[in-house]
């Protein structure tokens, strides 16, 4: 057995907060999240890139934390499922849609799917079932058969777009009034 390697200080932002943590070079980001930082929303599934349960966003892009060396996250902006809820004051529209559509059964794949789906919505706005299927092609679910998950993501995308439209209309309204005066 080789002697323990010295821990290295890792600095990154997790869900908007600066975090510093001493990590072993051979530890994955997933191990650091779950076992050092208690961020257990991110799940440990196959641990070799097949299942997508460990999906997090690194600089906004969905990636597998089980195949990311913790030290490769140095200086990066990390978002986990915990940050997804916080970003919208409690419940993200995707989480709300998963609840309404019964898109989570055992729930193990859900955090990873939410992280893949959020990146899709941010990039494309309102999405089609085909786009959802492609975006979630790396996230396995053994319970649902995917139908309700796809319905929930499509529904959430419509609501997010409608919300955005309403918000920009509300912001535009006073400007229009001022212009009329």
């Amino acid at each position: 057995m080789s002697s323990p390697s010295p821990a290295v200080l890792l600095s990154l932002r997790i869900n908007g907060e600066p975090v510093q943590v001493a990590v072993q070079p051979h530890h994955t980001l997933l191990e650091v999240l779950r076992y050092q930082l208690d961020l257990i929303g991110t799940k440990q599934g196959c641990d070799k890139g097949d299942c997508g349960a460990c999906t997090v966003q690194i600089d906004g892009e969905p990636q597998l934390s089980c195949l990311t060396l913790a030290l490769h996250a140095e200086g990066r902006e990390l978002t986990t499922v915990e940050g997804l809820a916080a970003s919208r004051g409690g419940v993200h529209p995707l989480q709300d849609a998963f609840d309404r559509w019964d898109a989570a059964q055992c729930g193990f794949c859900t955090p990873g799917i939410l992280m893949s789906a959020e990146a899709l919505l941010r990039k494309h706005g309102e999405v089609t079932p085909a786009q959802v299927r492609e975006a979630l092609a790396g996230n396995l679910c053994r319970c649902t058969g995917y139908t309700k998950i796809i319905d929930a993501v499509v529904d959430a995308s419509r609501r997010v777009v409608a919300e955005g439209d309403a918000k920009s209309a509300a912001e535009a309204a006073p400007r229009r009034r001022r212009a009329a005066e």
């Binding site: 080789s2 323990p4 390697s5 290295v8 072993q24 070079p25 051979h26 530890h27 994955t28 191990e31 440990q44 641990d47 070799k48 890139g49 097949d50 997508g52 999906t55 892009e61 969905p62 990636q63 597998l64 195949l67 990311t68 060396l69 030290l71 490769h72 893949s116 492609e134 975006a135 092609a137 790396g138 996230n139 396995l140």
Partner: protein, 333 residues
């Protein structure tokens, strides 16, 4: 839970520093990590040092050199970046397609072209946990043992070259650029591979892949990549075929000037199909052309029992997928 073995991680900032770091015996490179990390978790190697390419600048560019008629792709370009790059999509569509068919979107956000070109060969008896390998009697030529479970009397590993981009790049006459202690060298990607599953490239221990150089089309062309898998995503190919047809004119009823076919997932080396000169002069939409190419592919390729699904079935499906890929090109017009 699969844990990585202990190692030291170096993150140099220049290519020269990478080459220097690779001087340590047993050092391995890591870029996207989607191939090496599962293999280390399966204890297929125990490198004392991993040399990370994460901080090396200048390896992530896609550049068109119109004057030389070349597309230069940095080794750290991600597979998603490649599959969505407008110039690659427009001018080298079979390469964009192959890159976009690798594993899953998550892996394509991480995995790089350099990694895909150097993807370790795969075998149903190798890519397993060490516990599994121990249970079949202590591994094989490519892991802890000294036997081959695919070819019982074999002394050479026949693990399969399973990269999606490699057959396509070879069909496009791509060249690979390597930098090592002896400087820079460039060779045809086709000559980079050798028929030994334990060491399937001619890369020296101290070398890294920096770039892939692909000639741009000089005339009307149709190209395709066919990948047959068990599931619609995540899987490695069971067989794969890359096709390229240079045409006399820009329509599918035009005669073929040159035909190229490269097949993957046989042994450690991709296979370029020979005797395709007979395809010359036949129209791309002539069913006799598809039949001829499919027949050559079938006759010259003998899959082994090294990946899932029976070898004779995979051999039959090679013919089917070659024919279907040409039919799809014709249908696209």
């Amino acid at each position: 839970m699969l844990r990585l073995p202990r190692f030291e991680l170096r993150a140099p900032e220049t290519i020269d520093e990478v080459v220097a770091a690779l001087e340590q015996p047993g050092a391995r490179l890591v870029a996207g990590g989607t191939d090496i990390l599962p293999n280390l978790k399966h204890r297929l190697d125990r490198p004392p040092v991993l040399v990370s390419l994460s901080r090396v600048a200048g390896l992530s560019k896609v550049e068109v050199d119109e004057k030389a008629g070349l597309l230069r792709i940095g080794a750290r370009v991600t597979l998603n970046g490649l599959s969505e790059h407008p110039q690659v999509c427009e001018r080298l569509p079979s390469l964009a397609k192959a890159a976009g068919l690798v594993a899953s979107p998550l892996i394509r956000n991480m995995g790089t072209l350099g990694g895909n070109v150097n993807l370790d060969t795969r075998c149903r008896y190798v890519n397993q946990t060490s516990f599994w390998r121990e249970a079949i009697g202590g591994g094989c030529l490519k892991s802890e043992g000294d036997v081959c479970h695919v070819v019982p009397s074999g002394r050479k590993c026949v693990a399969a070259m399973s990269s999606d981009c490699v057959p396509v790049l070879i069909s496009l006459d791509a060249r690979v650029v390597l930098v090592g202690p002896q400087g820079r060298r460039e060779l045809l990607l086709e000559d980079y591979y050798q028929a030994d599953g334990t060491r399937h490239t001619t890369r020296g221990d101290g070398e890294l892949t920096t770039e892939l150089v692909v000639p741009l089309p000089r005339g009307p062309r149709r190209s395709a990549y066919a990948k047959w898998t068990v599931r619609g995503s995540i899987d490695f190919p069971l067989v794969s075929v890359a096709l390229r047809f240079e045409l006399e004119e820009d329509r599918v009823s035009a005669p073929v000037r040159e035909a190229h076919a490269v097949v993957g997932v046989l042994g450690a080396r991709p296979r370029r199909i020979t005797r395709l000169e007979d395809a010359r002069g036949k129209a791309l939409d002539d069913p006799a052309l598809a039949a001829l190419v499919a027949e050559r592919v079938h006759a010259q390729c003998k899959p082994l029992e090294n990946v899932p699904y029976e070898a004779p079935y995979r051999r039959q499906m090679l013919r089917v997928h070659a024919r279907r890929a040409i039919a799809a090109l014709v249908a696209e017009g």
